[in-house]
């Protein structure tokens, strides 16, 4: 099954996206954020919380704001302190938290000897590389299928989540996402330890990551099949969570360049700087990112705004390239959200899914199920999901986020998940060789629709290139939501770097990714 597409239009879209993303990079390269700095500390091996449950990494960055000069970067301060005290980063963090030490006493406005950080960075990097190798080895023996069946757990209690995840795995789920508790994206710190209280989801913490990973690894040891784990590198702690996911071997991270801006009202500079670092970390750790274009269609009409999804996919692709991420890690997102009362809705969905497939041939596309037009009618919902599953398998999507018949009612029950998995399995079997057996008729409704969406995406990308991404976001082009350059949460955490600023973690990861690529 193939659409005939105009390669000049596709090239023009990529050229525009390159301009758009590169302009943002140039504008934001002189800046860093508190969350980037906290991530550097985590990569130096700092873990734990103080007497008031404040993470040490927050304590240190806040401390440097008042007792040092954050413009030089946290690594600069740590390098001076380690060089002069010969203490480990963890000890320094504890001493600072206890008020027994001030980094200001060791700070010099000249370049420190960064090699004192090397042994600590080596440790984190070695752990991430080991985790990556483990994943690759297991997947070599038991390759991931296509599509991969992705389900969510969202009980709020990590132990209950584990029960639900293991049950889903037993029924054939390939990917488990632990939905975060509502509100976590706006926390400017990462909570600590195992948690049992959450609403509509479970806190993303390093310990929760570890517990779920351990349970899914246990499943793999017994059954041979590797079950991938997903969380959210998004919100105000985007790069920190990417780092924790890298350390604890998550396999996928929701990570969109624009989602937080549009849907969580997080400041655009903060989000774009944070996503740049978080993608470098995920790329280095071999973690597949999932972008969030599907969400645009939950607030605007999927038929009228289909081209905004394509345009955003091109932009997300370019931002991922900045992080030296190979296409095989770019889980670009889209969704099956056209109103079921529209004539030929299924054909339009096929057009969109096949278009995405052909525009990004090497990307493991993430395909989201119907949500907006799901109702309390679970029986009709099962049929909607069946059509979505057919669109998924016939257009060869990779990350198949299964729709639940109870989507509009509650976070999934164990049985909802089992029904959804059975629905998908049946359709995979029934449509196995379908895509290789049929052609899309030239000039047909499906092809015309795909051409129209691509042309509109190109026009939109031309406009964004002309006016700049910040202006586009102000205009509310994506998802019908308008955001200003200096509005939103987290702007206070953005700061301009000093000429001597260095982020040794980012530099080493980028260098390693470049080496991998060559």
């Amino acid at each position: 099954m193939k659409l005939t597409l105009d390669t000049h239009t596709i090239d023009a879209c990529r050229r525009d996206a390159r301009h758009i993303a590169d302009a943002i990079k140039t504008e934001l390269d002189p800046y860093s954020t508190v969350s980037v700095e906290r991530t550097v500390l985590r990569m130096l091996g700092i873990d734990g919380v103080d007497a008031f449950d404040v993470p040490y990494v927050n304590v240190l960055v806040d401390h440097v704001k008042t007792h040092g000069d954050l413009r030089f970067g946290i690594a600069h301060h740590m390098a001076w302190a380690i060089a002069r005290t010969t203490k480990t980063p963890q000890t320094i963090a504890k001493r600072v938290a206890e008020g027994a030490m001030s980094l200001g006493d060791y700070f010099e406005p000249t370049t420190p000897d960064y090699t004192v950080l090397t042994p600590f960075i080596n440790q984190s990097f070695a752990r991430i590389r080991t985790q990556r190798q483990h994943r690759e080895t297991v997947l070599e023996n038991h390759p991931a299928p296509s599509p991969e069946k992705y389900v969510i757990v969202a009980t709020g209690n990590i132990h209950e989540d584990i029960d639900q995840a293991l049950s889903a795995a037993a029924r054939g789920a390939d990917i488990i996402a632990v939905i975060r508790t509502t509100g976590q994206s706006l926390l400017d710190y990462v909570p600590y330890g195992a948690t049992t209280e959450g609403f509509g989801g479970t806190y993303a913490t390093q310990e929760n990551f570890r517990l779920m990973r351990e349970a899914l690894d246990g499943y793999q040891r017994h059954h041979g099949r590797y079950v991938k784990l997903v969380n959210y590198a998004s919100g105000l702690c985007m790069p920190e969570i990417a780092a924790l996911g890298a350390l604890e071997r998550l396999d996928m991270m929701l990570n969109d360049s624009l989602y937080g801006i549009i849907f969580r009202d997080i400041n655009m500079k903060r989000t774009l700087i944070d996503q740049a670092f978080s993608r470098v970390i995920s790329g280095y750790a071999g973690i597949t990112i999932n972008t969030g274009e599907d969400n645009y269609l939950t607030t605007t009409d999927a038929f009228e705004h289909a081209h905004t999804v394509i345009a955003s996919q091109f932009i997300n692709e370019r931002f991922a390239e900045h992080a030296r991420m190979p296409a095989t890690l770019m889980g670009l997102g889209h969704a099956y959200e056209i109103d079921p009362s529209v004539d030929n809705s299924f054909l339009y969905e096929i057009a969109q899914a096949q278009l995405s497939r052909q525009l990004f041939p090497d990307a493991p596309l993430k395909y989201m199920p119907p949500t907006k037009h799901m109702t309390g009618d679970i029986f009709k919902g099962t049929v909607q999901n069946a059509l979505f599953n057919i669109a998924c398998v016939t257009t060869k999507q990779q990350i198949h986020l299964l729709g639940m018949p109870t989507e509009a009612i509650h976070t999934p029950f164990m049985s909802d998940r089992a029904l959804a998995l059975a629905n998908a399995d049946y359709i995979y079997k029934a449509f196995k060789a379908f895509a290789d057996s049929v052609d899309i008729k030239p000039g047909s409704l499906i092809e015309k629709r795909a051409h129209a969406v691509l042309d509109n995406a190109r026009t939109l990308l031309d406009d964004i290139r002309e006016e700049g991404l910040f202006v586009t976001l102000k205009k509310g082009t994506f998802a019908g939501v308008s955001r200003g350059e200096n509005d939103g949460k987290g702007l206070g955490g953005v700061f301009k770097k000093h000429p001597l600023y260095t982020n040794p973690i980012m530099e080493r990861m980028l260098a390693a990714c470049e080496e991998d690529a060559s």
């Binding site: 509100g183 849907f263 907006k372 509650h410 049985s415 089992a418």
Partner: protein, 248 residues
């Protein structure tokens, strides 16, 4: 004869029902027996397990059909529903024209930690939902949508700032009754600030009913299959009623 109500399968008063649920136990004859016993306890007689399967080693899923032995007198059942008439967009605009000398200001948000905007957007945004235009599209209506994760204090501040007539609150996440706590807290805030009577208060969401809204101290509640014109009809008429009451 009393209008006694029982479920209908294919014959009046046959009481046929379908049930499905999960049990935290291994699938098998014992599980099926437990499932049937549960039905019996609910008053569902002669339950048949038409399908059972393992969800994992320790959980099993059942679909059953049975005969409900209970009946309900439908005359004795009370419904608390919106008592104002639902009008079309054109009629609402004409009604506001006739009864108000200023546009009606609606301010809306998905409050607390709730990140879902789908409900509030369906009511407020230009596009609306399922062919029903949103409040933004209405003449004589000023619609301000604050989006998601708005805390109660901010919502009240904004409502005062914009001289809102109507506050719309959307709640989608209902796990562990988080919506009840949040909605109650907003009423308490209004009362503490002595502002309860300044606004018409309307809540909405997939699990919201009018009865729940009244119980929590709101003026109205709208659940699934309610659109912008339902909300606007109620609001316009309720504001007129409120005005005539305060004049008396």
């Amino acid at each position: 004869m009393k209008p006694l109500m029982r479920p209908y399968g294919d014959t009046l008063n046959d009481g046929k029902m379908q049930l499905s649920f999960t049990l935290p136990m291994e699938v098998g004859p014992k599980g099926e027996a437990v499932a049937k016993a549960l039905c019996e306890t609910m008053g569902v007689a002669d339950a048949t397990v038409v399908h059972s399967e393992a969800l994992s080693e320790h959980f099993s899923f059942y679909i059953l059909y049975g005969t409900l032995t209970h009946a309900v007198d439908s005359d004795a059942v009370e419904v608390r529903d919106i008592d104002t008439e639902s009008m079309s967009k054109d009629d609402i605009e004409a009604y506001i024209d006739a009864h108000f000398d200023h546009p009606i200001t609606f301010i809306g948000a998905s409050t607390g930690t709730d990140a879902h905007t789908v409900g509030i957007d369906a009511i407020m945004n230009m596009k609306g939902f399922a062919g029903h235009y949103g409040l933004e599209r209405y003449r004589h209506v000023k619609a301000i949508n604050l989006g998601s994760q708005v805390d109660n204090e901010t919502l009240l501040e904004e409502a005062i700032k914009h001289h809102a007539d109507v506050i719309l609150i959307s709640q989608t996440v209902t796990q562990k009754d988080v919506h009840i706590h949040n909605l109650t807290a907003f009423i308490e805030l209004l009362e503490a600030e002595n502002r309860r009577d300044d606004f018409l208060l309307i809540i909405g969401g997939p699990r919201i009913t009018h009865a729940l809204a009244k119980e929590l101290g709101y003026d109205a509640g709208f659940g699934p299959k309610k659109y912008a014109h339902d909300v606007a009809s109620f609001a316009a008429q309720a504001l007129v009623n409120k005005r005539s009451q305060s004049k008396r």
